[in-house]
């Protein structure tokens, strides 16, 4: 049997690390029992199996993921944009409402009601949003379920709108309410991200009712459920009185992509 040099060097390594010691069976049992007991930290993971602790621990875990997500979010880093050839056809862009596809918004009298830490609160018309510089972007829309599509979205930068309303730029959050009673909230960094839009058109057409007419959030750096449709109220705040509809069911709050 020929032994390779590699094996000889390995054998030398193992010998250098180990010493020979002698003990009887009883002592051997003692040593192995001690080694086994040293594995008890593994049992700590079993706390997740105890019903009384489970919910709290998972909430902590999800909270930690959200905390880490906020640290990982790079404010100047843009989501990939795509060519028109890569777009998902409008007919194949899914409509995902949590309740109804058309909450019956009266588009003629609709206003966005602005409250909170702003200099100019009150109702804003769609024309005021549309008077801001229009951004059109082809970005990927990712659903928490796992599917993704590439859509063409148009609207005003939320950051421009926050300037318009004189928002306190040291605020921590914005919250929105919707005509279908949906509600959501955003961290300030995401609200100020250059690709975060108050979206009023898709595929260069006015937003359809199913997609949230007349105004929705479009946030390429967030998962789908953060991008609320049928906006009716927007609040600038430092305190979240409500987080979000799906968050209240147990989803992540930050869920940044």
């Amino acid at each position: 049997m020929e032994e390779s040099e590699e094996w000889v060097s390995k054998a030398k390594f193992m010998k250098a690390k180990n010493i020979v010691r002698r003990m009887d069976e009883k002592q051997f049992r003692g040593v192995t029992r001690r080694e086994l007991l040293k594995l008890t930290p593994v049992i700590a993971v079993g706390a997740f199996a105890i019903p009384a602790f489970q919910k709290g621990l998972l909430k902590k875990g999800l909270g930690f993921s959200d905390w880490a997500s906020a640290r990982m979010f790079r404010t100047g880093h843009l989501a990939t944009t795509f060519d028109n050839a890569d777009l998902t056809p409008p007919a194949k862009f899914p409509i995902n409402g949590y309740d109804i596809d058309d909450p019956g918004v009266d588009l003629d009298t609709w206003t966005l009601n602005v409250t909170g830490a702003v200099q100019k609160p009150g109702p804003y018309k769609l024309s005021q949003v549309q008077a801001l510089p229009r951004v059109r972007q082809n970005t990927r829309h990712v659903c928490v379920e796992g599917w993704d599509v590439i859509g063409r979205f148009g609207g005003a930068r939320l950051s421009d709108f926050l300037q318009l309303i004189g928002a306190d730029m040291t605020s921590k959050y914005i919250t929105v309410n919707c005509a279908d009673d949906y509600y959501e909230s955003l961290d300030w960094e995401t609200a100020m991200h250059p690709q975060t839009l108050l979206c009023y058109e898709m595929y260069e057409q006015p937003l359809s009712r199913e997609h949230g007419a007349p105004l929705r959030l479009q946030i390429p750096t967030k998962v789908g459920y953060k991008q609320a449709k049928y906006l009716t109220d927007l609040k600038v705040t430092n305190v979240l009185d409500r987080v979000g509809y799906w968050e209240d069911q147990g989803y992540s709050w930050f869920y940044g992509l």
Binding site: V42, V144, E145, G146, W147
Partner: protein, 236 residues
Amino acid sequence: MSATIEITRNPEQDKDDAAPIVTGRAVYEHPYMVRLCHWINTVALFVMVGSGLQIFRAFPSFGAKIPQKDLLHWPKAFAIGGWLGGALQWHLTFMWIYMGTGVLYLGYQIFSGNYRQVLFTRRDVPGVWPMVNHYFFFGPMPPAREAYNPLQKQAYTTAILLGVLSVLTGLVVWKPIQFSWLAWMMGGFHYARIWHFAVMWAILFFVLGHLVMVILHGWNNFLSMLTGWKKDPDYE
């Protein structure tokens, strides 16, 4: 068999010097860190796979959403979390445990030098076929030379790489924009999701083989992953 044994051990493991008598043999095969990481990882992997399959149930396809063609309907009984939101809580919690264990394990192996026990290198290549021949075609058992035979090293090294890949593909599914360069390497978010799924099955395939071998090699071998010590090893 003699009632007494001779023991080869790592001096750092235990400082107490008990009185000696001789004859049988035992070897300290698995350092504490390796065993600790192995068992935490066993739990973490179980939760990650179970919750991952529940997440997959929310959209069991890798094609378009419209029209949706389901790949398979994974039974809810073999999934963790109950619904998508619950499964995400498990997945996004245990991924830290899974990654933490991985980092601890790799760090220990590299800095202790113990990686030599498990790392499959070019020198191990000639030894793979005799082992395959032995296990699958009833060839002669090649003489054992160290704790892990070449085929074992290949399997473990592959499993470790799959673990790293599961984390990297998972990071892209979770944050395709923050890890845009990684996403680009994997062909974008859509493909990263496919890779993540494929890596899971590769890991499960390893686990299946691993469990079969554990059963075949018996109690003494199994105990060594709990206590570190193997009595009467079949190598010098």
